[in-house]
Symmetry: C2
Subunit: 295 residues, 2 copies
């Protein structure tokens, strides 16, 4: 069975006349005659009652017509939707983001992304780096924002921007009065995230500390609350500074400075490379000059 033949059938039923249906379909009258006879033979059902003054659908045909119309309509829907998906910068785009970045980056850039890439429907997905990369490889995500460099051959990445690390202290902490803080000074009572967070490893590396402390916050927000409650200090990425200050923390730059590099990762074979590139550039621009937050 063929969509073309179904369209022929609809044309003949609509016009009640082979010749006019043929003209409307852009083919010759014998074509319709032959093809519709074939369709009848294939279905084993007489669809048309031919008369000297035209043609009428049989009862069986009338029974089938709803399905025929539905099939043709779905085919048209496929083409219509494909037309709107033809723009490489449109359609759903699933973007994985690590938890120490998502809550602080997304409010800054989402509105701007909608303005710059109106066709791209970004669906954020928050998870730890390893899970994100696994999902990315399984085609569950289109790209990921992470803070490490993946070394898998089927994944490519590009750096977006560097995010400095900052010291976050309770106001009553002895170091809170200082303008800058050295890494070693922070190491003594630093609190870190649970395992799996790249920020945990980076914080420990920066401070050259191998803490085996029992407190392992599962989110940066939790961690900052712990610091605010006086349980210790921590290292936060720059984009979280505003949130940290809102919680009453004292935020100080490190001396010498340290940072992490945020990278956008995608599958080497992904056909969405244009969208990936556009997204990367948009994020860089929006982070450098953040757009207003959506009301």
């Amino acid at each position: 069975m063929n969509l073309r033949d179904l369209r022929y059938l609809l044309a003949v039923v609509e016009h009640g006349h082979f010749g006019r249906a043929a003209e409307a379909s852009g083919v010759s009258q014998p074509t319709l005659s032959v093809q519709l006879r074939k369709l009848e033979a294939e279905l084993g059902v007489v669809l048309l009652e031919r008369g000297a003054r035209g043609v009428a659908p049989t009862a069986a045909c009338r029974r089938l017509l709803p399905h025929v119309r539905a099939a043709v309509a779905e085919a048209d829907a496929i083409q219509a939707q494909a037309r709107s998906l033809r723009d490489p910068l449109s359609g759903p785009f699933r973007l994985g983001i690590i938890p120490t970045l998502a809550p602080y980056l997304l409010p800054r850039v989402l509105a701007g992304l909608r303005a710059r890439l109106p066709g791209l429907e970004i669906e954020p997905w928050e998870d730890l780096t390893d899970s994100l990369l696994e999902r990315l490889r399984e085609h569950d995500l289109d790209a990921c924002l992470i803070a490490t460099e993946p070394d898998q051959p089927d994944l490519l990445s590009r750096p977006l921007f560097d995010e400095p690390f900052l010291a976050a202290l309770p106001p009553a902490h002895p170091l809170a009065a200082r303008d800058t803080i050295a890494e070693e000074e922070l190491a003594r009572d630093i609190l870190v995230l649970a395992e799996g967070h790249c920020l945990r490893d980076q914080a420990l590396a920066v401070c050259r500390a191998a803490t085996a402390q029992p407190m392992r916050a599962t989110s940066l927000a939790t961690l900052m609350h712990l610091v605010a409650a006086g349980y210790g200090t921590t290292l936060i990425p720059a984009l979280a500074a505003e949130s940290a200050r809102d919680m009453g923390l004292v935020v100080r730059p490190l001396a010498p400075p340290a940072s992490r590099t945020l990278r956008l990762v995608w599958r080497a074979r992904s056909p969405r490379r244009p969208a990936v590139d556009a997204l990367a550039e948009a994020i860089v621009a929006l982070v450098a000059r953040p757009s207003a937050r959506p009301g």
Copy 2:
């Protein structure tokens, strides 16, 4: 676009593998490769991300898949429904019946027809002869039961059975005591149906009367009620006798007898001739030996 290609797409998406999808589709792997590339070119959308270990649908493809599945499902529904319509004795069958016959014939035969022709879904349509024949010619009906012989070249008919006319009288009528009644005796105070009813013409012909009486009942039931109320006499077809007696009328045979011939009419070109013939024979058999009425 082609239903075949849509099925290919579904197979590849389902198997995630061109080779296995090809096997499942009964074609070679290059066929799928070529056809799906063509489909992508036609839609202008990359549907599949080819990898070294298989293939995955793109985000755009996932967007389209519901429509693709729907189109294929509708096509399958067409074939499934066609299979069940393949039996010439099945499917909807619109049967026109004149009003002086329908209420008395249908209760006698409908249950039996369902038993003898279980696939045939008879949809009765009650109207005057001329309207019925017009609808029949316009393909709005598959066949008609009427009491006259149509003389249109595109319509064929066959007689089913003769239905005697009977005299119907109020119990108090002077003729009610007689065993049989002559036509002339009835003519004096006969009531007839409104124009358009063939029974009106037949009654007038039988009784050689040209009444211009004001009372023109629009249904046989009304007419019989008028007779029961003592407004006159009338001629009824035999199948209405039971109903007439239920209303308290006296029913008597004519001497000499008169009758009308009920015919089944269909379009000369109708492809439903097998159903028409089966229906004709079933009705004849059921009228001769009526089945039990449905409870």
